[in-house]
């Protein structure tokens, strides 16, 4: 390392100073979330369940929920007691006593009491409750006692609701439910989701779909890409135009391209479906997007259309770096075109092809846009890839714990594929030969 520029900063320190902003951003925005995903996948996190909206390592009370249920439940019970008679009144009084009991158990904790007052004030003023105030940890024993008492209360109220002896049954049962929901349990589940997915048929089916999609589409793209690159690797009129039009499928948003193909493959009005049916490839137009085999075909077809040009461009660039003298020498030695291709072109293209394959395989393996828009994973999950499955688990079922586990599985697969390629490519991938 060379010491001392005029600013008195060594070159090494200056370099780190310049690199740090980018590095920090990458660490915080890209790398940290992956670890966090893994952490989430060890928890029962569900965004549609108030008690499981995030990871909890302790028992606790959600004071916002508590403030919205406890006082109202007590007053609602008072009203019911007033209007009830005889046996019902007695039963209601007992229920109320149990609720009071829960309240004193919980509010015996000074932190619960203090924070509850603050939360109540904030809610009264219509302000948002900050997270650190909203959640208070409580002892496991208290939490378990309260939990069983509230369950008892809910059962009592439910029974009375069914007997039809309550004035506003929905109100009291609803509030009791709200009260139960503000009790928070630790939701660490360990590797439960991974164990479940290991034997989950849908997971294996989606993994198989992903592999089939990746293998076939990248394979076809590679062969077509090499063929096209070999054919256009020469001087001809309109080279620039061809190159520009080759870039159009690449530049189009995948979602838009997928929509385009959805229309072309449409069972009633799709012109490609019509052409396929006319030439006898498929029995009738509807087959394309409604049967397992043909919907996978449709998805792969669309992907090949979109990414072959990119492959061809990469390989063309690689072809142009092969010295002509090699072919001239081969010609002198009497090697045939085919021999030249296998003995010169392919070996010289090795790195280019491996890099292109790496990027394409990883892209294909995490495919989401194309399938989400074109088939939505259907019919009957026939084209559902693992990313799509993970998305549905998270955003349709709101099950973020399980969805994160699937996402981590995608990540691990990608890491394995990358490592295989890095082994094959060695340092070629990063070093640039400039000797630095």
């Amino acid at each position: 390392m060379k010491k001392g520029t005029r600013k008195g900063l060594s070159e090494g320190s200056l370099a780190w100073l310049l690199v740090i902003p980018a590095l920090l951003l990458i660490l915080v925005i890209a790398i940290f979330p992956v670890f966090r995903s893994f952490w989430l996948s060890l928890h029962d996190v569900r965004l549609n369940d108030a008690t499981k909206r995030t990871t909890h390592s302790h028992y606790g009370v959600d004071l916002e929920g508590y403030a919205n249920s406890m006082p109202f439940l007590l007053s609602a019970l008072d009203q019911e007691i007033k209007k009830a008679e005889g046996a019902t009144q007695k039963r209601l009084t007992q229920v109320k006593a149990k609720v009071e009991n829960v309240r004193s158990t919980l509010e015996k904790d000074s932190r619960v009491r203090k924070n509850f007052q603050r939360v109540d004030e904030l809610l009264f003023e219509g302000k948002a409750v900050p997270e650190n105030l909203r959640l208070v940890n409580i002892e496991e024993k208290k939490a378990r006692i309260s939990e069983s008492q509230i369950s008892q209360i809910r059962a009592d109220l439910k029974a009375m609701e069914q007997e039809g002896v309550l004035n506003h049954p929905k109100r009291v049962t609803g509030l009791a439910k709200g009260l139960q929901e503000c009790l928070i349990e630790p939701n660490f589940v360990g590797l439960k989701y991974y164990r479940i997915y290991l034997t989950d048929e849908r997971m294996w089916a989606s993994l198989t779909n992903t592999l089939v999609f990746t293998g076939i589409s990248v394979g076809v793209e590679l062969v077509l890409g090499i063929a096209i690159a070999l054919l256009i690797n020469r001087q001809f009129v309109g080279r620039g135009l061809v190159r520009a039009s080759v870039l159009i499928p690449w530049a189009l948003p995948t979602a838009v391209a997928a929509l385009m193909w959805k229309f072309l493959f449409d069972g009633q009005n799709g012109v490609m479906a019509k052409i396929f049916a006319e030439i006898g490839l498929i029995p009738n137009m509807g087959t394309l997007l409604t049967t397992k085999f043909w919907s996978m075909f449709a998805v792969i077809f669309a992907d090949v259309w979109k990414t072959t040009p990119f492959m061809a461009l990469l390989i063309l660039a690689g072809l142009q770096t092969i010295p002509k003298s090699l072919y001239e020498a081969a010609e002198v030695d009497g090697a045939s075109r085919i021999q030249q291709f296998f003995k010169i072109t392919l070996p010289m293209l090795r790195t280019t092809i491996l890099v292109a394959l790496l990027f394409r395989i990883l892209d294909a393996f995490r495919v989401f846009d194309l399938i989400y828009v074109l088939t939505g994973g259907g019919p009957a999950n026939a084209t559902e890839t693992i990313s799509v499955y993970a998305y549905k688990t998270m955003f349709a079922q709101m099950n973020f714990g399980a969805g994160s586990a699937l996402a981590v599985i995608v990540f691990i697969c990608i890491a394995i594929i990358s490592m295989l390629f890095v082994k094959l490519l060695g340092r070629d991938l990063i070093s640039d030969g400039s000797g630095k």
Partner: protein, 275 residues
């Protein structure tokens, strides 16, 4: 490699171009069809009997397509500007300064660019919800960093490496500081590569679907790809309007590709090809 291109070559080329551009051509033709010509036998006739621009008008008058366009443009521009800026500074150091650990940094960059988006979405989504950043521009620009920054860093490093070393050395010999060498000598030479990188990052951000789909669900905050993909019709999928909207999105991309094709190809192939 081979000699001259003959008749068969051009025939093949024409066929190849037709196959490749066919979906797009069909899209343009469909976008010009009035609603009556979208179904039945008419659906398979390439040329509309009564061409119309009503679909283009509808996209803007009956749907918030202009809003989508603006959202996409703004998010893509800000993402590009800030990521290219941060990446350029880092890429300069990696490409031209001597320090330990640059291989690791490049390795990390490359690895991150291969991360599946799905593996980061759950914490990002929960964070944005907690911060109230879903349905906001910031809420998209932050996660867009995950792919834009590595892409920019990787490309810029490769471009900057190609700038001849001697120039900087010469400037320093003449008494320029590192900063002066950067601003006066390297910066002007770095403009083309930076510009190319900016185009690539812009296209990537403009086309992004997954984060936009999950984070910005409100109609007024959707980006173009998501907006079009979720176009709803009353009875059936509004194909003509989707076609019109797709054509509108594709035109700037086609223009960009026509204008900058050399640069884009250079940007795409850099790093993949040894010179």
């Amino acid at each position: 490699m081979r000699k001259n291109a003959g008749f068969w070559f051009y025939l093949f080329l024409a066929a190849f171009l037709l196959v490749m551009l066919f979906p797009f051509i069909w899209q343009v033709l469909t976008s010009l069809k009035p609603s009556g010509e979208l179904f039945g036998e008419h659906a398979f006739r390439p040329i509309p009997d009564h061409p119309t621009v009503e679909n283009y008008v509808k996209v803007f008058t009956q749907r918030p397509f202009a809003t989508y366009l603006w959202n996409s443009t703004w998010v893509a521009i800000v993402t590009t500007a800030y990521c290219v800026f941060v990446a350029a500074i880092a890429a300069y150091a990696i490409a031209r300064l001597k320090f330990k650990g640059k291989t690791i940094i490049l390795g990390i960059t490359l690895a991150v660019s291969m991360f599946p988006q799905i593996a980061t979405i759950s914490p990002i989504f929960m964070f944005m919800e907690k911060m109230g950043l879903t349905n906001s521009y910031t809420g998209l620009i932050i996660p867009y960093t995950t792919f834009a920054l590595p892409l920019a860093l990787w490309n810029l490093t490769n471009f900057f490496r190609k700038i001849p070393f001697e120039l900087e050395e010469a400037a320093k010999m003449d008494g320029a500081t590192t900063w002066q060498a950067l601003w006066r000598v390297i910066f002007p030479l770095a403009v083309p590569g930076t510009f190319t990188t900016a185009i690539l990052v812009f296209i990537a951000a403009w086309n992004e679907f997954f984060f936009a789909l999950t984070l910005n669900t409100e109609e007024s905050m959707k980006t173009v790809p998501v907006g079009i993909a979720l176009f709803q019709g009353r009875f059936s999928i509004p194909w003509a309007e989707i076609s019109a909207a797709s054509v509108i999105v594709t035109i700037p991309l086609v223009l960009m590709v026509l204008l900058f094709q050399r640069r884009i190809v250079a940007g795409l192939t850099t790093g993949a090809v040894k010179e």
